[in-house]
């Protein structure tokens, strides 16, 4: 039995040691260095350009090409969370038990201290009455009393550590229950799904419709972009439930989902003449004319300074083929395929907006952690706890201040105390 206890205690001691915290933090920091110096989330070709094949094998085996999502990095974070929890628990227990009062110091020692004030003609009771307004009387004896103020300062460190645990838990909630996806919409287009990000992008159905009414880019006079604006409508059961503009830095929120202005793109719209008959084909569209089927394979807005061009793939009966059309080159904008004269008349570009769509139920947990962390830092570094001894001496009372850490604060505090009791 006793062996079992000591075994359990040893594990507890290990998990609650500052040593483990230092080791874990160092490993996390070193992993972070790798995660920034080595390109993250690249293709094998990206790495083979810089590293030898054997180095790349090591990189991909250890997951150094995606450090922050490897099982071992997430394990480090979880282990650190546990370590921090047990460390704090141990420290908290110690702090709670250490509030046992020390022995009352001898009067002649208190009398000599620099932070002592002698109040002639005042008795202990009246001083305690005054100080009792904002100090807590911890101990009272015949000779005097011991008071404390601002004990909360001692809890600053617990707020800091607790808040970091809360932030890490919040991020874990986001990791498990949240997702990131995107949506690209042309003007007037709508969608009832989004594409989830990841190694193999998946479609995810939405139970409402997102419609892009308009998308525009504003520019500064020098040509740099000033504003990206998507005019978005959310339609549910055939009814419009929300209409709002999305800008960079101004996402919209609907049903726990955030929609961000993330990016945009240009899509070509191609105006062809097939045997003199005008027809339009889009980048994803297919054109059928008799036994001829055509679709766009590639679109370049500029080919070797010859202007925009489009590569068409076609199926003439069962015979496949491809052909480049250049809009601005006379010889290259008309071709005969399957006995039909096909002429590229014009290419227009249409903008489409790319919206980032995210869900993160842990975000409010993280925000709570942020507020507590700043509060904890404030308590720890900007407030201080004060101990006061009030002692009977001759025909008056001695008030002694004991301050921790901040030595230059003590003069100010003593001066305040003097003024409080009207002594020079």
């Amino acid at each position: 039995m006793s062996q079992e206890v000591s075994h359990g205690k040893r594990i507890y001691d290990f998990f609650s040691s500052v040593k483990l915290a230092v080791i874990l933090l160092s490993f996390i920091a070193i992993s972070c260095v790798f995660g920034t110096l080595i390109k993250q989330g690249g293709t094998p070709e990206d790495y083979l350009e810089f590293y030898s094949e054997s180095t790349y094998k090591v990189i991909s085996f250890l997951g150094l090409d995606d450090v922050f999502h490897t099982w071992w990095f997430i394990s480090l974070l979880i282990l650190f969370t546990l370590n921090l929890f047990f460390c704090s628990l141990r420290r908290f227990k110690r702090d709670m038990t250490s509030i046992v009062i020390q022995r009352f110091p001898p009067t002649d020692v208190l009398k000599k201290m620099k932070t002592s004030i002698f109040l002639p003609g005042k008795n202990v009771e009246s001083v305690l009455h005054e100080l009792g307004k904002d100090h807590k009387v911890i101990l009272k004896t015949n000779e005097g009393a011991y008071l404390e103020k601002g004990r909360i300062s001692k809890y600053g460190v617990h707020f800091i550590h607790g808040s970091i645990i809360i932030i890490l838990i919040g991020s874990l909630i986001g990791l498990i229950f949240g997702f990131r996806g995107f949506l690209s919409l042309k003007r007037g287009e709508e969608a009832d799904y989004l594409v989830l990000r990841g190694k193999s992008p998946k479609k995810s159905e939405l139970n409402f419709i997102v419609k892009c009414k308009d998308f525009r880019i504003d520019f500064y006079p020098d040509g740099t972009p000033k504003d990206y604006v998507s005019d978005i409508e959310i339609i549910r059961d055939g009814k419009k439930v929300l209409e709002q503009k999305i800008r960079v830095n101004e996402p919209i929120k609907y049903e726990g989902l955030y929609f961000y202005q993330a990016s945009y793109g240009k899509e070509g719209i191609f105006h062809f003449e097939v045997d003199g008959k005008e027809t339009v084909i889009t980048e994803k569209g297919v054109l059928k004319d008799g036994n001829l089927i055509m679709r766009v394979i590639r679109y370049e807005s500029s080919i070797h300074n010859f202007g925009p061009g489009v590569l068409l793939g076609y199926l003439e009966g069962n015979k496949p083929g491809t052909a480049w059309f250049l809009r601005d080159v006379e010889r290259m904008n008309t071709k005969t395929i399957g006995g039909k004269t096909i002429r590229l008349k014009d290419i227009k570009e249409d903008l489409y907006t790319v919206l980032e769509v995210t869900k993160d139920p842990g975000v409010y947990v993280v925000w709570t952690g942020f507020v507590l962390l700043l509060f904890g830092l404030f308590l720890n570094f900007f407030t201080h706890s004060k101990k006061v001894y009030v002692t009977k001496y001759e025909n008056g009372t001695i008030v002694t201040l004991i301050l921790q850490r901040l030595n230059n604060v003590s003069e100010v505090e003593v001066e305040k105390m003097r003024r409080r009791f009207n002594v020079e």
């Binding site: 500052v18 110096l37 500064y220 020098d222 230059n408």
Partner: protein, 266 residues
């Protein structure tokens, strides 16, 4: 543009102050603080004038948006830190070293031919009120860490002549790390909240974010070394020097060597 003349004047004044106080004892002993206040006011005015002038060219944003402006704010924060901590520092020698830092940054930013000093428009990603909180807290952190770095360096020189004794340097070192740590935390957290509204996630493992975390961990180890292990002296001085190396990499290294979401800073 007036702001550039003002910044250049401030640069010369920083230099003049350092030069004159090295020779004139009464300036160094009695009027150093007053002189720094005057230069600081000029430096502040230069920033404000640049802000006003950005409206004249039709952009209208605080001078917090590109590399040049960040350097101007960085040196401004260093001087501000000297003024805030003047009682704590209590050594004209250390003050002059720190002001020397402000001067070097100003000189580099205002004289180097490779730096674009034009007022540029603000990209959509930067158009947010979080810009003010985030940039100011980060640079206040960087400048406090600069103070701790200098006191850490001076710690290794035997306290002869004007170099204050080690306990004073330790006190400056510790105080500035504490202040820097609070500002760095505030800077990272405000950045995270901003990232949530601008990029869709409060943490993206962007190189600058990641390096700010590395820096934060180093200074967290510093504080625990002091509070838990009771480390002092040399160990603390070395840790504060390592910490500042990480700050430098977060600020410059990431901008010039790594690409990421923060790349508009170059």
């Amino acid at each position: 543009m007036w702001n550039e003349h003002m910044f250049l004047s401030a640069t010369y004044l920083y230099f003049l102050l350092i030069l004159l106080s090295s020779f004139i004892a009464s300036l160094r002993q009695k009027y150093l603080f007053h002189a720094i206040v005057i230069i600081f006011i000029i430096h502040t005015l230069a920033l404000l004038i640049r802000w006003v002038e950005s409206y004249k060219v039709g952009y209208g944003h605080a001078p917090l948006s590109n590399y040049y402006e960040s350097l101007m704010v960085f040196s401004w924060c260093i001087t501000l830190m000297v003024l805030i901590l003047r009682k704590k520092i209590n050594s004209s020698m250390v003050v002059l070293f720190i002001i020397g830092g402000s001067f070097l940054i100003m000189a580099y930013a205002n004289m180097s031919p490779s730096i674009d000093r034009e007022i540029r428009p603000l990209l959509p990603a930067l158009q947010s009120n979080w810009l003010y909180v985030h940039v100011l807290t980060c640079f206040l952190a960087y400048s406090s860490f600069f103070l701790s770095f200098l006191s850490g360096i001076l710690f290794f020189f035997k306290s002869k002549g004007p170099i204050p004794n080690p306990s004073v340097l330790e006190e400056i070192n510790h105080k500035s790390v504490s202040i820097g740590f609070i500002f760095l935390t505030a800077g990272i957290l405000s950045g995270a909240v901003w990232a949530h509204y601008a990029w869709g996630s409060y943490w993206n493992w962007d190189p600058k974010e990641t390096w700010s975390l590395i820096t934060w961990i180093i200074y967290a180890l510093y504080l625990h070394g002091r509070f838990v292990k009771g480390w002092a002296g040399k160990k603390m001085a070395i840790l504060s020097i390592i910490g500042f190396m990480s700050v430098l990499f977060t600020y410059f290294g990431v901008n010039f060597l790594l690409s990421g979401l923060h790349s508009y800073a170059t």
